[in-house]
């Protein structure tokens, strides 16, 4: 089959690789009809996440048709069924899964020894996202093996398009969880750093959940326009002072709720700390550029809540934690417990409350994936979200 394969930093190729096969009784094989490039895939592309190996298949946002199931799937999934695959692999049985904390499933990471050494305890296995999270082959491919398939799937109806459903795999529940986990009140101002795909979903989620005011912070014109279309007030950080504008919009009090939808690769060059971070990152003295965390802690109203769906990979430097402590900030973060939200979100899509297709700017054959990584990374051609179609040539 064809798949997008990681060969090293900034080197992704569409290769022919062996087809996946059932390895465990609870496995299923899914023929991928649509998959997407996620912002967090760019951390792999740029070489900022450790634990990738040459030959790893990328991708953790995919959907398709079940073509084979293992004997342990036990009737919970049938050949021919249409499914979206959550990016977090969940066994459904461990104590964390029973509590709904699917992103920290205790059993799905098959490289638990590495994870425990690096993180203290294991987190869930993820598709196509380093050997620290299991080293599972990803879904930017014609076929994908789904471990724990009886619990790691979302069955979806046939009357909706792939484009309407695909983002149930990651960015829609990620944006939703980012908004849900700070318990929005009708009086809240929500500030969202980053108007990329997750930021866009977080904006819509905050609006649906009833925030009084949503403010989106970015510098890319298309993304700011899209944020505005979703109901956000926008701040272009290249043109305005973020802190001054947020204070103006909140009568000097600061936003009650803040979201970092940027993560470890924040924009470089507009402030001195970002240059400092980039220099340290270049010599592996830190793994992330936490400019947004610094600004968010500073901007947030005392006793406010900071939500961090943006991905960080390890160490960050000069984080003003004393500021967070003295202001009494609550910090909520984590990978997304996808299955916790998908039933509710699927219903909202079916009812037409939200149509996630708004975020798609590019749909291309799988073979054009390597070029689209670069386009997406450089935000060229107004690129916000790329959908790949393995069936197209």
């Amino acid at each position: 089959m064809r798949a997008l394969v990681w060969h090293g930093k900034k080197d992704i190729r569409c290769d022919t690789v062996p087809d996946p096969r059932i390895e465990d009784p609870r496995d299923a094989i899914v023929k991928v009809s649509s998959c997407a490039i996620c912002g967090s895939d760019l951390h792999l592309y740029d070489g900022f996440m450790m634990g990738m190996e040459r030959g790893d298949i990328l991708g953790h946002e995919c959907m398709g048709e079940v073509v084979e199931v293992g004997p342990g799937v036990d009737g919970k999934l049938e050949v021919g069924e249409r499914v979206v695959i959550p990016f977090t692999i969940a066994c459904g049985e461990c104590e964390q899964c029973q509590r709904g904390h699917f992103s920290v499933c205790e059993r799905s990471n098959r490289n638990q020894d590495i994870a425990k050494k690096a993180l203290g305890h294991t987190t869930a296995g993820l598709f196509g996202y380093t050997h620290l999270t299991g080293g599972y082959a990803g879904g930017q491919a014609e076929y994908v093996r789904v471990p724990f398939a009886d619990t790691t799937h979302v069955k979806v109806p046939s009357n909706l398009s792939d484009e309407q459903l695909l983002f149930l795999s990651d960015i829609l529940p990620t944006g939703w969880q980012a908004a849900v986990q700070y318990d929005i009140q009708p009086t809240d101002t929500v500030a969202i750093w980053g108007a990329g795909p997750v930021g866009q979903m977080a904006i819509r989620s905050a609006i649906l959940l009833g925030a009084k005011q949503v403010v989106a912070i970015d510098c890319v014109p298309e993304r700011l326009a899209m944020a505005k279309a979703g109901g956000a007030t926008t701040i272009d950080f290249m043109a305005d002072s973020v802190i001054e504008r947020l204070n103006e919009l909140t009568s000097g009090r600061g936003p009650e709720k803040c979201i970092d939808a940027v993560g470890m690769e924040s924009h470089v060059g507009h402030t001195l700390d970002t240059i400092y971070d980039r220099a340290k990152q270049a010599v592996f003295a830190e793994t992330g550029r936490p400019h947004v965390l610094r600004e968010m802690f500073y901007a947030c109203r005392p006793a406010g809540i900071c939500s961090v769906p943006g991905v960080y990979g390890g160490l960050v430097d000069k984080l003003p934690f004393g500021l967070a402590m003295n202001k009494g900030l609550t910090i909520r973060t984590g990978q997304t417990d996808v299955n916790r939200w998908t039933a509710d979100l699927l219903q909202r899509i079916e009812e037409g409350q939200i149509d996630p297709t708004f975020v798609i700017t590019h749909t291309v054959p799988l073979g054009e994936g390597p070029a689209m990584y670069r386009t997406f990374r450089d935000k060229e051609d107004g690129c916000v979200k790329v959908v790949l179609k393995p069936s197209l040539h």
Binding site: R99, G100, V180, Q181, Y182, D183, Q185, P186, Q200, R204, S205, I207, L208, L209, G210, A211, C219, V220, P221, E222, R223, A225, M226, K228, A229, G230, G231, M238, A239, V268, G269, H270, L272, T274, I275, R278, A279, A303, I305, T330, R332, R340, D344, R348, G352, Q353, I354, D355, P356, T357, F358, V359, T361, K379, D381, G382, V384
Partner: protein
């Protein structure tokens, strides 16, 4: 300002940055090759190793400016280096070659001003160099205007583990 003007502005900013890159390399080579006479001239006799270190820094920054697709961070790096030079020279103003040291300080201040100007122009040009390629103002994702969708999911109850921390009771003892 039309797109062509924006492109011209961007090209001009990059030309200036390249100039600063070559200047940086030239200055670094002088500091490396002529550390002794230079140190004598500006009242830093005995501190030749420090001058050579600064020379290496200038050369590295210059190469960074010339090699990077986006030279802005490297120009800001030059500004940081200028600050170091200013600090170093300022502490030598009491020495034996006060006039020469003051002259060097003035030159560095001038270079700093030029660096800041180029960095700002680059930032402006970079911002301008991204014209909107597509109008996304209709991509709301909602069936109705956002104002009418505000609170449509208000009935959703977050799980207990995600409820906000309770406000403290309004009593002060």
């Amino acid at each position: 300002m039309d797109y062509q003007q924006k492109l011209n502005r961007q090209a001009s900013a990059h030309r200036l940055a390249r100039g600063m890159g070559w200047f940086s390399i030239a200055l670094g080579l002088v500091e490396l090759a002529c550390a002794r006479p230079l140190a004598r001239a500006i009242g830093m006799r005995g501190e030749e190793p420090l001058l050579r270190f600064y020379g290496v820094r200038e050369i590295a920054t210059g190469i960074g400016v010339l090699a990077a697709r986006d030279p802005a961070p490297w120009i800001w790096g030059r500004v940081a280096g200028d600050a170091l030079d200013i600090g170093t020279l300022a502490t030598r103003l009491e020495g034996s070659r006060t006039a020469n040291t003051a002259l060097a300080l003035g030159a560095v201040l001038g270079a700093t001003a030029a660096d800041v100007a180029v960095a700002r122009q680059l930032a402006g040009a970079r911002h301008l160099s991204k014209p909107m390629v597509r109008d996304d103002s209709g991509r709301s994702g909602f069936p109705k205007p956002p104002e009418q969708m505000r609170g449509a999911a208000r009935g959703f109850r977050p799980p207990r583990d995600m409820l906000r921390p309770e406000d403290r009771p309004p009593t002060i003892h």
